[in-house]
Symmetry: C2
Subunit: 363 residues, 2 copies
Amino acid sequence: MSAFGIFSTPGTAPRVGWREGDEVVDLSALGEPYARGSLNALMALGREAWDRAIAAARTHDGPRVPVGEIMSHLPFEVADYVDFYSSLEHATNMGRLFRPGGEPLVPSWRWLPIGYHGRAGTVVVSGTPVRRPHGERVAPGASAPPVFGPSQKLDFELELGFVLGVPSEAGEPVPVDRFADHVFGVVLVNDWSARDIQAWETVPLGPFLGKSFQTSVAAWVTPLAVLEEARVEGPPQEPPPLPHLAGGRDWALDVDLEIELNGSVVSRGNARGLYWTMPQQLAHATSNGAPVRTGDLMASGTISGAERGSEGSLIELTRDGAEPVALTDGTTRAFLEDGDRVVLRGRAGAVELGDVGGTVVPA
Amino acid sequence: MSAFGIFSTPGTAPRVGWREGDEVVDLSALGEPYARGSLNALMALGREAWDRAIAAARTHDGPRVPVGEIMSHLPFEVADYVDFYSSLEHATNMGRLFRPGGEPLVPSWRWLPIGYHGRAGTVVVSGTPVRRPHGERVAPGASAPPVFGPSQKLDFELELGFVLGVPSEAGEPVPVDRFADHVFGVVLVNDWSARDIQAWETVPLGPFLGKSFQTSVAAWVTPLAVLEEARVEGPPQEPPPLPHLAGGRDWALDVDLEIELNGSVVSRGNARGLYWTMPQQLAHATSNGAPVRTGDLMASGTISGAERGSEGSLIELTRDGAEPVALTDGTTRAFLEDGDRVVLRGRAGAVELGDVGGTVVPA
């Protein structure tokens, strides 16, 4: 691992650290912006400063702390959180589940990266337990009345997110070829989802309480510069995107992904197949003139592959619960149970990404 | 008007002011938290402190500045922005326009206040021009290919928002009867909308770029305590809400509303008819365990009445452009044109709310 994060040790204040393997290099002696409790000040400095920071981190002879002795904190203050829907396979799976018999993809899907805003205030760092949310739900096929209670369909979503460093101006979209000038790095994301709450509330304004209870991100942000060797070309796009979304396919990432549930690996996939790339996501999000701020988090949406066993959520892996997954402890899961522990992992060649762990606690 | 805001005069720093009529009382000499450039510190203090602040503002003999001589700033740092859909008449109008022939209300509508997250980073203060956004759109009835360009259907939405002062804890919903312990005050909101962009992108994840380019709020936040005399009972609700949303109907607000477009009043309505009240909106938003933060903005969604001429958006007033509204200058409008000036006004008995003005500038 080669990534920035915010850490503390007992009795000390949170500060910037550089994680290399299983050690964390304390960078706080480098002064501003490393003595702070979030990466935002560093992230705002821009690409040349980020490169210098990586070089400084790799050569700094400050204190090194074993990762087992630190406490991790949310690495950046989240400004706005946007969640995309950029996996063709995920969107197809969800369309089949929620609109059976119809065309799984909506007409706009291949013309723009569909997305929506999530709740920035409930983005938490890996390791934070996830409390099973309450909400209204109806029985499958029923329309009313709903009942209110703990979700019966708690799920995870494996996503890859990118974090904005350099803000943009209102009215000035960020073109696909300026992606790396604005984006500091990437994090794995678990966009916890309550499928029963989501199904009831989602028409016509989209997901709200089915997602807003918690979103978990890795404690370690991997800078883009560290991922150069993992860059690959994204999949072909047909029809060709309109000019404002054309290009940016040189920033697909060859990142092997895996989801572990109570010690069993239940899914293995790769991020390189995402239909819409990160530069296209950013170009789209700013194409109406909306500016981005330091700390904006934009996530891919669930990353699913075409093969069975490569889906990024339980609702897909289990066909909405109809085909529970078998765990190595002899149990099966349709959706998450209290006490379940989920860990999302990613590896870009030799570069491990920060993982995202969380345990379900009762409502 | 009796409201808090952030103001400056030439060469001075933004600070807290109390607006009474056409004068602004400079409160910065009262020290923390009045010397700051946002209301957030004051808003975080809680209800007793707010009451003391109002009393202090009303008796303070600090400098008084004519409102014509000040510059207004965004009154609070927006944490998360949630937009509801709480007007029965608006939801019905939109359902008829977007799903003609079908049931205008979705099955969940009377069971919970439908809502979604908007973009906090593009909330701006009244007076900020709105730049016509670019986006993808298709001709009505067509499905593809889209074209990319300036929106042809720029619209306003008249809404009433409330601003969170006291945060809540994760896992602890804010019940309807705790509304006034957490909420600092209200603001008028113009949720600018590009209807063509919105129509193309909105299925299945809801509005995104059709809204995220800009949302304007009043420069003056009216504290809840000032609105006591405007409190009325909300409309009857059938079916009765589930227990977690029952109650809170004592916080409907009798606020006369009006929309002025280029000097012509094009709509007159009242906020008291909103089906879902503000306490119910807040209870719903936290019912899954999501916490709120100081600076969260929650808006009602467009406020429309049942009569012609009381609709809160052009798409409703003009039946999606089919029946343009006539202005007193002899022109008509289907949607907004460059140079158009929109002002939203509200009055709760003797208490005027801060207005929200904005002029459309070209893409």
